[in-house]
Amino acid sequence: MNDIAQGVLDGVVAAGARAIRWLDDRDPRGADLVRRIFPATGRAQIVGVTGPPGAGKSTLTDMLVTELRSRDLRVGVIAVDPSSPFTGGAILGDRVRMARHALDPGVFIRSLGTRGQAGGLSRSTHDACLVLDAMGYDIVIVETVGVGQDEIDVVNLAHTTIIVGVPGLGDEVQAVKAGLMEAGEIFVINKADRDGYQATQRQYELMLHLREQAAVARDAGWSAPLLRAVATSGEGGKAIADAIFAHRAALEARDGFARRSGLREREQTLAILRERLIARALGAQGQAVLAEAEARRIDPYTAAGKLLAQIDGKDDLA
């Protein structure tokens, strides 16, 4: 245990990999491990990469890693793919697009399955970011599963979120619906050499314009850039990396970097609390209450009240 935590602090790859495994598996050793490494975290910039399936998130991430390495930064990548809701199994294939970094000691790539978590990330993604942060990676890129319209947990996790779109997906209505457009700090239209680029670009420009007018963006001091990329050929990598650093500078100018890190810990605290409260409420007696609800003998509000009462140490309705 001590060896793994110390290994993480020393930047040992095998130790970091095992630490992430414990946290992903909810191994009981994980909580102590986080306690040990937490003081060494808060330095890395967490960069989210999200967008619909097929937008080229992995290829764009690969391009970004190359660009960031050329600037002598150490880069961690957490690539999340969906787990089957039926079997719990998963095919994790994002590494395939990042194979050229396999032997670079300045790059650590880890694939995670969502393991039942909605929102585009796994429950362990936050923990994995802490591990890579403690290991000394300067930037941690979190690549989400392909998302639809509101699976945007990554914006609570990342300092900077990149929204990746492509030409020809959906119409104006889709763009209006998308919570994605309200969330990101950097917008990229990938596969910009394809037909329909200009129409898509005009839609995005309009959306970003409306967004600025409505000031729904979280950071009033930041004007989200719209960039073009052809990730397969490396086009756009430099401009995206520049935007990542510009956003960090804008955050730091208003003390926003630490504030975002803090918001992340707040969210994670609530997530852990929810899980533990549910686990406590669903003891042996709790399962019986749940079965009552499942049999439709009591309604869900009554059932939840009874379960809460168990945590409170009472024995009947709350």
């Binding site: 095919i91 032997l103 650590f108 686990a279």
Partner: protein, 142 residues
């Protein structure tokens, strides 16, 4: 109160060498996923060094190598050695594909735990892994 552990078998599947025949390894990947395992693909034209680095970073339990273009008597022993050197000696190393009978003793002596040759049934591979995983967890709990 601690959350319930949720251990899940993680398997890295890779192709060593220059061949680009992915049908077999893809089918096996999907069979393992259906069995509830997490399968990490690394892509084509991998070297032993690349596979070892990925296996360590991903902290997989099992490394499965598909080889259809010869070179296995050189590549697989090298991969087994690299895994041992990099702290991955506890990982189960499997090989499948075109591997002549006469090469198998050499590979097994070098650290390949099991070889599935052409025509192997995916259900047998799943069963083999499930049994190995159950035994591993039992021995760690003891």
């Amino acid at each position: 109160m601690q959350e319930q552990p949720n251990r899940r078998l993680r398997v890295l599947l890779a192709k060593l060498g220059m061949d680009t025949h992915t049908v077999g390894v893809t089918i096996i990947g999907h069979a393992l996923r259906e069995a509830g395992m997490e399968v990490i693909f690394t892509g084509l034209k991998q070297t032993p060094e690349m596979v070892a680095a990925a296996a360590i970073q991903e902290d997989v339990d099992v490394v499965g190598i598909s080889t259809l273009s010869a070179g296995h008597t050189r590549n697989l022993p090298k991969l087994a050695r690299l895994l041992r050197e990099q702290g991955g000696g506890d990982k189960l190393l499997l090989a499948g594909g075109v591997i002549p009978q006469e090469d198998q003793p050499l590979l097994q002596a070098a650290g390949v735990h099991k070889i599935f040759t052409m025509g192997a049934d995916t259900r047998d591979i799943v069963q083999y892994l499930e049994q190995w995983w159950a035994e591993k967890q039992a021995s760690e709990a003891a």
